[in-house]
């Protein structure tokens, strides 16, 4: 498993417009939809700049560097911040007019610490269940269930102040889950966790999205980890949309062919370049972007013409994060 690489802001491929702007065949109601959403903070900082995006049900990753506008977007979606201009809707409800109804159907896990140290997780999540509108008994039951779902059992009777960071993150997730939301907005759920903690948190998010049938918008500045669990990806930078698409199309466009020869790698590299394939080095192998079926033929012919001992020829997917650092020399051999 690759270590998550911080997303680098930079000249990135602006992809096609977000997956469809209107109902078409196979239309699925968007859980989140924004059009030309702009948020300008006093002082002239544009946190969001003409952001138009549509998020389908499922698990959607919201990636961007720190300060890209992820938290601002989430707060606007919850109706906690008013946009400067533009329009946003969540679950078909307008974020400016129907904020309360949106908040009744959404669970929110903030990025920062938000837990009082001197109450037990059970008390805390029960209280927040009440604040989500659950009657007393239901709040108690659902608090116990939510804590169980996030993996807190006997510990839940202990004061939160005694918890590890990972356990605190789980309590934050449990309080978002307690009101049985249709949509979860998770702001950097893995922040501050060690690799094992990150993996189990991602597992949990993935479970909630797939088994519990709750749509999730999860933000992260670590593309590498978020791509493991998402159905869709929305990448923003400087408040602008870089790209929004399904995970599969993100990776499909990035099909590469790995060619490894026992010797003469440099020769092959030159030959492939001469055939217009722009090979790149990856340790002892070469990576070639697959354009069409002819790419395979060209590689085969190049190897045959040079008479090189072919060791390996395999089709590979590039990880999404590589799409965001095309200008950086490839390093994925470490995988």
């Amino acid at each position: 498993m690759t270590a998550p690489v911080p997303l680098q802001p930079g000249p990135l491929q602006a992809g096609p417009p977000p997956g469809g702007t209107g109902p078409g065949p196979g239309f699925v109601a968007a859980v989140v939809e924004t059009s030309a959403l702009t948020k300008r903070y006093p002082g002239g900082v544009n946190a969001l700049d003409q952001l138009s995006v549509r998020v389908a049900p499922g698990i959607t990753g919201l990636v961007g560097a720190n300060g890209a506008g992820k938290s601002t977007l989430i707060k606007i979606l919850l109706g906690l911040l008013a946009p400067t201009s533009g329009h946003a809707a969540v679950l078909g409800l307008d974020c400016s007019r129907d904020a309360e109804r949106i908040r009744a159907r959404c669970g929110y896990m903030p990025e920062h610490d938000c837990l009082p140290p001197d109450v037990t997780a059970t008390e805390f999540v029960t209280h927040l269940g009440r604040m989500s509108g659950l009657p007393p008994t239901a709040a108690k039951e659902r608090a116990a269930e939510s804590l169980r779902h996030v993996g807190l059992y006997e510990e839940r009777y202990r004061q939160i102040g005694t918890y590890s960071t990972g356990m605190k993150q789980r309590v934050k997730l449990a309080q978002a889950l307690v009101g049985d939301p249709q949509l979860l907005l998770l702001d950097e759920p893995t922040i501050g966790l060690d690799p094992a903690g990150r993996a189990s948190m991602l597992d949990l998010v993935s479970r909630i999205g797939t088994e519990f049938g709750i749509s999730i918008l999860v933000s992260s500045h670590l593309l590498g980890e978020i791509e493991q669990i998402c159905d869709h990806l929305v990448a923003i930078d400087g408040g602008r949309l870089l790209r929004a698409d399904t995970m599969t199309s993100f990776t499909q466009v990035s099909q590469v062919l790995l060619v490894e020869v026992d010797e003469g790698t440099a020769l092959l590299e030159a030959e492939l370049a001469a055939r217009g394939l722009r090979p790149r080095r990856d340790e002892r192998a070469l990576l070639v972007q697959i354009g069409s079926g002819e790419t395979y033929d060209a590689v085969r012919d190049a190897v045959a013409d040079l008479g090189l001992p072919l060791n390996r020829l395999e089709q590979r997917r590039r990880r999404v994060e590589e799409l965001f650092r095309d200008d950086v020399p490839d390093r994925e051999g470490a995988a």
Binding site: R103, P116, G133, R207, G209, G213, S215
Partner: protein, 302 residues
Amino acid sequence: MTTQSGPQAARAGVIHDIGYRHYEGPRLGRAGIIRALGWHSLRSAFGIGRGAKAKIIPVIAFVLICLPAVVNAISLATHGGQVVYYDTYVFQLRVLIMIIFIAAQAPELVSRDLRSHVLPLYFSRPLRRLDYPAAKLGAFILACLALLEIPLLLLYLGSISQAHGGAAIWAQTRALIPGLLVGLAWAVLLASIGLALASLSGRRAYATGSIAICFFLSWALAGLLRGVTSENGMGAGAGARLSGLVSPFTVLDGLRQWLGGTSPGPLPRPGDLGVLYGVMFLLMLAAAVGGLAARYRKAGIS
């Protein structure tokens, strides 16, 4: 794209348990949530639902403030004299107890949430921004009201138990009602000021300190001003009659006297200047409630 798809389904079979159940039951609306928050806050004002330590000050305050009612009952039983009046109760004791109670418990309601940054979790629920301070204020007014009115009711019970005949009971009842109204004015003003001050700091010690200092200093200042302005022997010049405007406690007493309270208080009778106490009461209340609202309109949501 459906919610059930994705390659993750397989990998997730690691842990936890049986499936997830959706909630199909009834949900409270905004008003119900505000009530729940108010009830929760009222309990925490008396340390209920917290550890034993949290109950110490509320319990001591409650016991102390009830003592005069007991003393009065004993006095009535032994030689028949009413020693405590409904509209002033025991003024100095009441001031002292209210300062201690508010300084200790107002931070319990608001500073803790500020300190641990819980507010985003409230604001991301189906509440409006000002619902939170409104629920807290309502709860704290009720808490202060309990501390101010329960002793009056005890006083009343003690008195009517010694009263002979319907007329005497009726007289007690008629005296009780203005006392309850005075208590209400105290609760509303002091709870508002206390919460507004507490909401300025997430640090409990600072919040408690600022409340205690504001209340004590203004109270001492009012006494000082009265002393200075009364020195010319007249005792009830305009200066002395206005000296109470600097402290919420003396403002409350000025208001009481202006509205017809007859028992002697800490202030000289304000007379025709009494209306100023009424105005000051409203100004202080507006400043406190406005300050509290402004605090939460601006409060960070991150």
